[in-house]
Symmetry: C2
Subunit: 214 residues, 2 copies
Amino acid sequence: MAYTYDHPHPAVTVDIVVFTVKAGRLAAVLIQRAEWPHAGKWALPGGFVDIDESLKRAAFRELREETGLSAAYLEQLGAFGRPDRDPRERVITVVYIALAPADRLELQAGSDAQDARLFYVEELPELAFDHARIIGHAIERVRDRLDTAAIARRLMPKSFTLSELQHACEAVSGTPIDKRNFRKKLAALELVEATGELLQGGAHRPAKLFRIKP
Amino acid sequence: MAYTYDHPHPAVTVDIVVFTVKAGRLAAVLIQRAEWPHAGKWALPGGFVDIDESLKRAAFRELREETGLSAAYLEQLGAFGRPDRDPRERVITVVYIALAPADRLELQAGSDAQDARLFYVEELPELAFDHARIIGHAIERVRDRLDTAAIARRLMPKSFTLSELQHACEAVSGTPIDKRNFRKKLAALELVEATGELLQGGAHRPAKLFRIKP
DNA sequence: GCAAAAGTGTTTGAGGTACACCCATGC
DNA sequence: GCATGGGTGTACCTCAAACACTTTTGC
């Protein structure tokens, strides 16, 4: 089947920067490319936009196909379209940022053709295309727009300790936060409530578990 | 000349929301369409992205062609790509926001085929395509990201009175500002300096003129 | 008992907001 | 002289930042 136009058309893809917090650090999902171009390098999950599909719908579809996430927060970062960013043809990509708790990701790790993994954002491997630049913009966006409430709602699992939430906030902002000020602000936000459970297991005093208030 | 692909490709355009401040109100440039679809309705300036041209370069080119602006602040708002937004074919548009002082715009007003005009954003005419939605997003973006310094640098002419600057800030934010607080903050910002000139002409005390500090 | 993280209040400074009157000009 | 916008200072309140010790557990 061939499709013909009277002036040249670029291809359009969506790519998704899937952020999560793992071990108190900000991390993103990357997929190892199996084919030319950039075979062996890591890249953002993504793919072509179907001709009858909205951009956001395409992003959701790719997100589901590559991470198993069926419902996640998704926001558009923007379009990237330098003429030479893909050696195959002119490709304009629309990038979305997804946020999800690490325990909801289902990566097809090391299954076969392509490997999907989480990488801490300070330890990214060599990236295909202009994806390093794209992730840079995504990190910048997340750093200065995600506040405590958004982090609690979108990056934390169902229940968590206040220290875990604080570490997530520190991972996103990239700066240390004072424990008492953090808890004072949380109390004022009326954002979380204690579940009544305790998290046992550390060689230290057990921490109360919290959840998002409805 | 025909261009053939083995899967369908959308067309990609750039559209530009050119904001300025006129008579103390926020205004945007619109162009009246001469042809189907939406003949007679008003639309954002824009056009197709050339196959070898970056998105930003395309936006600058269209901006120059349709408003005479050769250097303006330009930032990407995002991509809009619902499948049915253009009845001719699938068109994905990447939207940029431009900011310029009103005295630098050179609109080809009423010349012939297409008419270009400024409209106050609270008095927009019926718009073509999904441009009403796009302008809505652009206004939202500008409202919560443009601060006093950006307004002074990007929307004001070479010299201006403090009241003019204040009115511009009020037009952008959509809320009234206290005069003394505004001037106190301006002083703290060390953003502007008096030119020494006065603006005569009103039936009242003449105002000092200011310029951006280098 | 010691290492390791949990939990808990007060003080200070900066910045934002509210608010009212006199001044210089054109008519 | 009056209408019109230009120009000026103080008091209060809110919010962010700095800062140290006790508690509970595992080993």
